[in-house]
């Protein structure tokens, strides 16, 4: 908390009175401006009410709910537990695979079933490909918000290839309905493994290219370092998760710390912010953590592709899932952080209650805390660093 305050002392706002040379007093006032819900940098329909003193931000009040689609209520009115999955897709539509996987993991723990090993491997491959695709959207739009348009198209060029892989697998490019409770909707197509290997080989050098273009660009570093510093304790107090938390120097990754699937079989490391360009937990750290996570994901994918076993992609589960009376909370690591599903069953074929703990919603709550005292142009970057997807914030 103190860290951010001391760093930004030069910005501290002082609305009040100014004495002119002729001895008159001029009253200065704060101005309230409205950013969004239609604004290019709010990444969807977020509305920010900003109190500014000149260009300096005194306070930010996020208003959400413009994309509320009643996910939780819809889930209670399905005729089957499997039918919730397409709705889970639509929460974080940039990382639908991870949303599905979270739900599937929760349901499987509730039903106490083991899924075939091949399924776990395919899920890991899909989740990590999706993580790359999602982080590419994050860093690409980050570039746009900083005023550089080209990195965005570089990122989308590569994301396109990942979406092609998804399309090849399940026919959809954005909302897949691929990871089902107890398995997958289809097996991988025969040429998938080769294509995915080809992608990894193609993509590795592109990470460096992107870093040269944007990450280590002098202007970009100047714009993002020491901006929107989120100290460790504040991050933990606000329950931030994902790259947001790790950038603040907390080494916490659910793939390692609350293991699910087969992540323990691969060699990889969670990435934490080190404050190389400024302070630990600044906006640049959030960016570089995402870039490094992309590299780690490529590592995981390559290992998973090499070790993928043969087998069935559907566990033996009944067509109508009827879990015992009870409840479960399971959490997985989505690109934006901890996606948790709390599911209550009353013993019938439909869930009694599904509550999703979505990462961007929680991460967004820290936005006012870290943007006070920054400039208007910084707010855009801070918001981009939080990497919100409104579908998941509003659910």
């Amino acid at each position: 908390m103190n860290g951010s305050k001391t760093l930004l002392t030069s910005y501290v706002s002082q609305p009040g009175e100014i004495k002119t040379s002729s001895g008159k007093t001029l009253r200065t006032d704060e101005m309230i401006i409205n950013m969004g819900p239609q604004h290019p940098s709010t990444h969807g329909v977020l509305r920010l009410e900003i109190v500014v003193d000149g260009e300096i931000i005194v306070d930010v009040i996020p208003h959400i709910g413009y994309l509320h689609r009643c996910f939780e209520k819809h889930a209670e009115h399905m005729t089957n537990y499997q039918q919730v999955i397409p709705y889970a897709d639509r929460m974080d539509y940039v990382a639908a695979m991870n949303m599905e996987q979270g739900y599937a993991v929760a349901m499987e723990r509730m039903l106490k079933i083991e899924v075939p090993e091949r399924v776990e491997y395919i899920r890991v491959i899909m989740a990590e490909l999706q993580r790359i695709a999602s982080h590419l959207v994050a860093v690409g739009t980050f570039g746009i918000d900083a005023g550089a348009f080209t990195p965005f198209l570089y990122a989308f060029h590569d994301r396109e290839r990942i979406l092609d892989l998804f399309e090849m697998t399940c026919g959809a490019r954005l909302l897949y309905n691929y990871v089902w409770v107890g398995g997958l909707s289809h097996d991988l197509p025969p040429q998938f493994i080769d294509k995915a290997k080809e992608f990894c080989k193609y993509y590795r050098p592109r990470i460096k290219e992107f870093n040269d273009l944007l990450t280590y660009n002098e202007i970009f570093v100047k714009r993002t370092a020491n901006v929107g510093v989120l100290p460790k304790d504040v991050a933990i107090n606000y329950a931030c998760s994902g790259p947001m938390l790790r950038a603040s120097g907390v080494n916490w990754d659910l793939r390692r710390d609350d293991p699910y699937s087969v992540y323990d079989r691969f060699e990889w490391e969670p990435q934490v912010g080190k404050g190389e360009m400024g302070t630990v937990g600044d906006t640049w750290d959030r960016h570089i953590v995402r870039m490094r996570e992309i590299e780690q994901s490529v590592n995981i994918i390559e290992q998973a592709l090499a070790g993928i076993p043969e087998g069935n992609v559907q566990a033996a589960i009944p067509k109508r899932i009827r879990p015992e009376r009870g409840e479960i909370y399971a959490r997985t690591e989505a690109p934006r952080g901890e996606i948790g599903y709390y599911i209550v069953s009353d013993g019938s074929t439909t869930p009694f209650r599904v509550k999703a703990r979505s990462p961007a919603f929680v991460n967004l709550s820290v936005l006012p805390e870290i943007s006070r005292g920054a400039m208007l142009a910084d707010l855009v970057l801070i918001a981009a660093g939080v990497d919100i997807v409104l579908g998941e914030v509003d659910r």
């Binding site: 101005m31 401006i33 604004h39 290019p40 940098s41 260009e55 570039g143 746009i144 918000d145 900083a146 005023g147 550089a148 348009f149 080209t150 198209l153 570089y154 060029h157 273009l213 944007l214 660009n217 202007i219 970009f220 100047k222 714009r223 400039m375 208007l376 142009a377 910084d378 855009v380």
Partner: protein, 348 residues
Amino acid sequence: MEALENLGVWGSILIAVVWSALPIVFILLYALVTLYAEMKIAAHIQDRLAYMRTGWHGTLQPFADILKLLQKEDTISSAADRKLFRLAPYVVFMGTYGAFSAIPFSSIYIGSNIDLGVFFIVAVSSLVVVGILMGGWASNNKWSIFGAMRSAAQMVSYEIPTALAILIAVMITGSLNLQDVTKFQEGGIHNWVVFGGPLPLTQKLLLIPFTLVTFIILFIASLAEVNRTPFDLPEAESELVQGFNTEYSGMRFAMFYLAEYANMFLVSAVTVALFLGGWTSPFGSFLSGPVWGLFWFIGKCLLLVFLQIWIRWTLPRLRVDQLMYTSWKVLTPFLFVCIFGVGLILVL
């Protein structure tokens, strides 16, 4: 032309009209070409193709764009100050267009060969900021005011380094008349001011570091003058949603655009005339002459315009305080050192 002069008063009026209309014809043609070129260059930088359907490689797209803008509804928000709102785009364009009158396109074509040419250009192009401020204020939109205020602060700050850099070129060439400045650099690439001008060898070699630095600073400052990346804060689309021209649509919006493109050429023209030999051929007397002069001048200017486009599609944007920092704490002190150095060398 002599035949026209024989017609008396009417003839000379006709000549004056034709003479002064030439730049606007040029600006319109140039804007079409640059509009197309910018999109194509941006696309190739970004690994894509841009327009491919309208005409051969999309060459008709600029016309389509202009037609679209002509058809657009011309909206003025109810809270706007209607008079100022209508006036603003023309003030912006007028500032740019006025400055074109002192640009030496060729040894035989210059709108008005006044002795204070450079000074005139610097002064008249300052009108642009009045227009932008006017547009931002009249829109009565908070984002537009942000853009206009940023723009005013930016242009006023960057006029200092621009003026100082111009001063250095004037010190070397000894004239404010752009035709004289250009003639001074005749004889080939080695006589350009950026390479020390046609001075005795020792003096020239001593001058080169200073002139090179000045040239680069003038180019950077000119980017800020025309609100191009990395100094495009007044219209930062990701923060201010186009800033001062948010509320504009249709032809008024197109006017702002036209002025921006014309301004890009204008600052390049000043840089070229002062530092890159204006209309003189880089190969001495080879390929020189009035028509070749036109070719060289426009060619050099377009090269600088290309650089501006290239930078725009590569770099992110600075923040307001960093923008001011660059101007006052980096560019200006460097230029003072350069002025001192150049003065010392010229006196020796």
